[in-house]
Amino acid sequence: MHCLIFGFGYMGKIRYHILRQHPAVHTITIVDPEADCSTVGIEGAVLRPGEPIPWGSCDAAFICTPNNVTADLCVEALRRCGRVFCEKPPGRHWEDFCKIAETAAATPAHTLMFGFNHRLHPSIQAAHALIGNGGLGDILYIKGTYGKSGGLKYRQSWRSHPEIAGGGILLDQGIHMLDLFHLFLWPLTVVDAVLVDTFWGTGLEDNAFVLLRSEQGVPAFLHSSATLWKHAFRLEIGCRNGYLTASGLLSQTGSYGREQLVIGKRQFEDEALALGNPREEIIHFDRDDSWENEVQEFIAAVTAGRPATHGTLEDARRVMQVIRDAYAMTEHAVAGRKD
């Protein structure tokens, strides 16, 4: 396969290194005017300035660009190649997403997958296996916190420019947690949302509080933040027979802490000594194959000419609807801090 990678930032580099290891991929072309051709490891892979994009030989395109060009590139890649892997978010807003969706609908036999790798994290997969018939029973509620500290260059990043990013921390990072909520409870609708720009003053929300409800009435609550001075990922799932808490993420920097899943089993009321303090097991994970498995699934879907099993257009639609509705509830006017 010949793969094109549009954008060679953080995500483009991750995809490049995974594709290089994939046995079905023989050629990779990086399309990014800012990519340095002399960088060790990518010699010969970067499209030279002025050279046309080799759509004719392209078997699959990876869109790893800033949000403002994602939708247009995704649309073009669908039309010219038909096999597209697009990083989240699928555009800056609902209208961008709709452009992609309309093109996909008009493109027969396409393969389109979005990068929602958190579903494939080991703690999430283990949680998914234990819910329902896995022993913990039906879900009673979900609560998720996902946040970062922003950092020194936060204001300078394209993610902090409204016209480029389209949305703040909810669209950038909260979208992953919303996708996980949908994995466990879909479909969800927004009950209420509070979006505030409390610290960074970029005109985009740096904190989002979103209350949701599933069709069965199960509540879910998301706190997405760019002012958590300690990086945090924490997903709490209350079930009829116990509870799960996934926390930490096996990331490159390790800044989100050791990835683990706490499994607690509900103690019955006659077990007085354990009441309120049930026995817990904690699974610590030391390997995250989510990026690899995501690419593996996309390549397998392309090879077999079938839709992807996750990260589908429908998955993307669900989260973008929630984000659209959350923004609409605050009328796109992100409230600043009132001193």
Binding site: A129, L130, R279, E281, I282, H284, D286, R287
Partner: protein
């Protein structure tokens, strides 16, 4: 790969009280000496690394050797396999008789030892996507665990086979009828050739099948601190006391991929304390004495640390056949 820790706690007295153990231990040592009176062979190489074993010391006059690469301990001399099989059957009968301490603790051992192991197996199978597998239990009969496996309803079939028969290549005809799970509760600690047993079990497993192993490990806190003075180290039950590294190597060399390597033990600190109470003159470094003299919160925090970092002496491993 996963590491699992647990907040479950229970006292040493509810599962293997030190004072209660002594009589059973004496029986085991005496029976082992008798078994070694005939033609015994000396083990030369480590079952896990194939390196030449080094002298390590003795337990009541019975020599142990050490693997220089992994730190695993091995009983130095062994009789013929058939003699060893008879020895294991003998001590198993004694363990289930009214003379051993185990009989009075059947319920608490079921609650604290066997039920959590069954839960572990069931949860792991769910995580591996294996539903109602046929499971092979390798054991020297009788086994309390067999009934729990059967009554759980989690398995299509429970096959209980003698661990020494398996290790000696018996019941080979069943090789055409693979199982999808196998359980070895401390079997690798007591059979005379753990590598051969693991090979036999792996042969019976279908590709993708999971083997569950529990063991007392020499790399764990109480074993490492007490060494050969640890009264829980005795043959034939601990003819092999591997380290976590040794166990991992053994499984990987048998064509298995490690899925979980945990040491969810809860008794390390209490075991060392029990030894110290029994013999206050035990040669322990000042730091260990300070730790053991600390309050209960400190003990619990330290035990949790041992679990998190793979340093408790009770190990459990789940591995999948490649």
């Amino acid at each position: 790969m996963r590491v699992i820790e647990t907040s479950s706690t229970f006292p040493l007295s509810s599962v293997k009280p030190l004072e209660g153990l002594l009589r059973y231990r004496a029986y085991c040592l005496s029976a082992t000496r008798n078994a070694l009176k005939g033609a015994a062979r000396r083990r030369e190489r480590s079952a896990v690394s194939d390196r030449h074993l080094e002298p390590f010391g003795d337990v009541d006059g019975i020599a142990y050797l050490r693997c220089p690469e992994t730190g695993s301990l091995f009983l130095a001399d062994l009789p013929e396999p058939t003699v060893w099989a008879r020895l294991l059957a003998d001590v198993s009968r004694y363990r289930h008789s009214s003379e051993a301490f185990h009989t009075g603790l059947v319920q608490s051992r079921t609650d604290n030892v066997y039920a959590p192991k069954l839960e572990w197996i069931q949860d792991t199978l769910r995580l591996q996507g294996l539903e109602k597998p046929r499971i092979l239990e390798a054991v020297t009969a009788p086994s309390h665990f067999t009934r729990l496996l059967q009554e759980s309803g989690a398995f299509a079939e429970v096959l209980t086979e003698d661990e020494m028969d398996l290790r000696m290549g018996g019941r080979a005809s069943q090789a055409e009828d693979p199982v999808h799970a196998a359980v070895l509760l401390e079997s690798l600690d007591r059979v005379d050739d753990p590598a051969a047993l693991l090979r036999a079990v792996t042969d019976r497993l279908a590709v993708g099948g999971v083997v569950f192993v529990t063991a007392l490990v020499a790399s764990g806190f109480d074993m490492a601190v007490l060494g050969l003075r640890n009264l829980y180290l005795y043959p034939p039950d601990r003819a092999n006391c591997l380290t976590v590294r040794g166990l991992s190597m053994l499984l990987e060399r048998s064509g298995l991929t490690l899925q979980e390597v945990s040491t969810p033990g809860v008794l390390d600190v209490e075991i060392v304390n029990a030894h110290l109470q029994r013999d206050p003159s035990l040669p322990l470094p000042a730091f260990e004495r300070q730790l053991l003299g600390a309050d209960r919160d400190t003990h619990e925090a330290f035990q949790a640390f041992l679990q998190q970092r793979g340093l408790s002496s009770f190990a459990r491993i789940a591995a999948r056949k490649r």
